[in-house]
């Protein structure tokens, strides 16, 4: 599975990296570092990736291959 964060939609709510601490990190301004990128999701992180996507108030996270 892969995870993408739409850089135009993400506004730094920080919900994703709070629920998927081992998968996603944040920068000095509070944005997820995966913003605007494609991130590989290891199998053991799949439940956390789903939770991250579901918890984003902007609907900025898309899971590919789920």
């Amino acid at each position: 599975m892969k995870l993408t964060v739409d850089g135009n939609r993400c506004t730094g709510h920080g919900r994703c990296y709070t629920v998927a601490t081992d998968l996603l990190g944040f920068d000095d301004e509070g944005y997820v570092t995966a913003r605007g990128q494609v991130t590989d999701v290891p199998d053991n992180q799949i439940p956390f990736a789903r939770e991250a996507a579901g918890t984003c108030p902007e609907g900025a996270i898309t899971l590919i291959g789920d």
């Binding site: 730094g12 301004e29 609907g59």
Partner: protein
């Protein structure tokens, strides 16, 4: 409220049968829960209404519409965020600045309120919370709203921006006075403007004290803003004061409101209270659930920039709209068990901190304040109850909602 008859008729003529017309005053205090009930009724009645009060404004009631409003600042300007006051006498920066200018000002502040900055002051937040609770616990009773919920976020905020926490003595009454008028109560406008003057004067004095210093003071936001530039030019006092004032107004009263509802829930629900005391790792998700179910933002206003059809509503430039955040956050189209407090809820994508570019700057701070409040309170006062048989009153939804008072009581050992 200004009332222009010609404009009223103009708007009324555009409201067709698809969009029900209501006459709703959201400024009056009601018994606790009334505004959420109203939000539920409106949302299930129609996705959009026209409210004929004052100059009139559109109301969007469901999650999808409210998020759409937030995510389209090019249509929904923040020039006014109060639909009953399309041309406000104050200017909040960056709150009322639209993209693309908005991000220039927002960036000056974002690091100060980002998770790294909040993590850095978290030990101090615990200490402030522990001290406040330690002063209250032996009494066996308190008014949670005035004794803790207003005081704690104020002390934390002042610490974060680098001024003495004890200046909460000044800020608490100013913020109280301001919000007596902000929700549309015309009798309170003079007191509101006077309180605004007090807050602005405090920061103006702080700027004067720091102005001559060659380098920014470490951990001091006022000093940092004096040394900041936008498009190569210094900000100037007016703009800096617009920013510092809105941080005070947006941050303190809101957290107070949210804490009041959260602690009322904990007082009334011993199972949730005991579970959080036993499993503090669940506190963050309980805080998110309080932000969703007990949303203090009844609605959020925007001003329409151009003629457009929005979910069937024929909007025109200058119209005011009101996204019912309380309706969105309790929308059963989005949430299972939408009207229950689910302590470990998953996929909680609530709009309690708004959405789009104006997403609450202080969200990370507010969350931490609430998390620490629960943790420190439960450590000292694990069991407590609402100590009145009278119905609790909440401030109208025209403001951020808040309980006026929350009397709590608990047993004191050895008393």
């Amino acid at each position: 409220m200004t009332h222009v008859a010609g404009e009223d008729q103009d708007v009324a003529a555009r409201v067709d049968g698809k969009c029900p017309v209501i006459h709703l005053d959201v400024s009056t205090p009601l018994t606790v829960g009334s505004y959420w009930q109203k939000a539920d009724e409106l949302r299930e009645g129609s996705p959009a209404f026209f409210n004929s009060i004052g100059q009139g404004y559109w109301i969007f009631t469901r999650y999808e519409q409210v998020r759409d409003m937030y995510q389209h600042p090019e249509i929904f300007s923040s020039e006014s965020i109060t639909p009953w006051e399309p041309d406000p006498a104050y200017r909040f920066v960056p709150t009322q600045i639209d993209p693309p200018e908005h991000s220039k000002y927002r960036q000056l502040l974002s690091r100060w309120f980002a998770p790294n900055a909040i993590n850095q002051i978290t030990p101090a937040v615990h200490e402030l919370g522990r001290n406040l609770v330690a002063g209250i616990a032996p009494r066996g009773e308190c008014d949670f709203v005035s004794d803790f919920a207003m005081r704690f976020p104020t002390e934390v905020f002042l610490t974060l921006v680098g001024v003495p926490a004890s200046d909460a003595d000044l800020f608490v009454p100013w913020v109280e006075e301001f919000f007596r008028g902000f929700g549309g109560d015309q009798a309170q406008q003079a007191a509101m403007m006077q309180a605004l003057g007090g807050i602005r004067g405090y920061w103006a004095a702080a700027l004067d004290e720091r102005r001559a210093e060659p380098a920014p003071r470490d951990g001091d936001l006022a000093s940092h803003l004096l040394h900041s530039t936008v498009d190569g030019a210094p900000l100037g006092d007016d703009l800096i004061l617009d920013m510092l004032v809105v941080l005070v107004l947006a941050g303190l009263d809101t957290t107070r409101g949210q804490l009041g509802y959260l602690f009322r829930h904990l007082a009334d629900n011993p199972d949730d209270r005991h579970r959080l005391a036993a499993e503090p790792a669940l506190i963050p998700s309980a805080v998110e659930e309080a932000l969703r179910l007990y949303t203090i933002i009844f609605g959020d206003g925007r001003k329409v920039t151009r003629e457009t059809d929005f979910h069937g509503c024929p909007l025109r430039k200058g119209d005011m709209v009101y996204g019912l955040v309380a309706g969105a956050n309790r929308d059963p189209r989005v949430y299972d068990r939408a009207h229950e407090f689910v302590l470990d809820r998953k996929a909680n994508n609530h709009l309690g901190f708004a959405g789009g570019p104006h997403r609450c700057l202080g969200a990370h701070l507010a969350r931490r304040v609430m998390q620490v409040a629960v943790e420190e309170w439960l450590a000292a006062i694990p069991d407590f109850r609402v100590a009145t048989g009278e119905p609790l009153l909440e401030r109208g939804g025209g403001n951020m909602m808040a309980l006026f008072s929350l009397p709590l009581a608990w047993e004191v050992e050895g008393a």
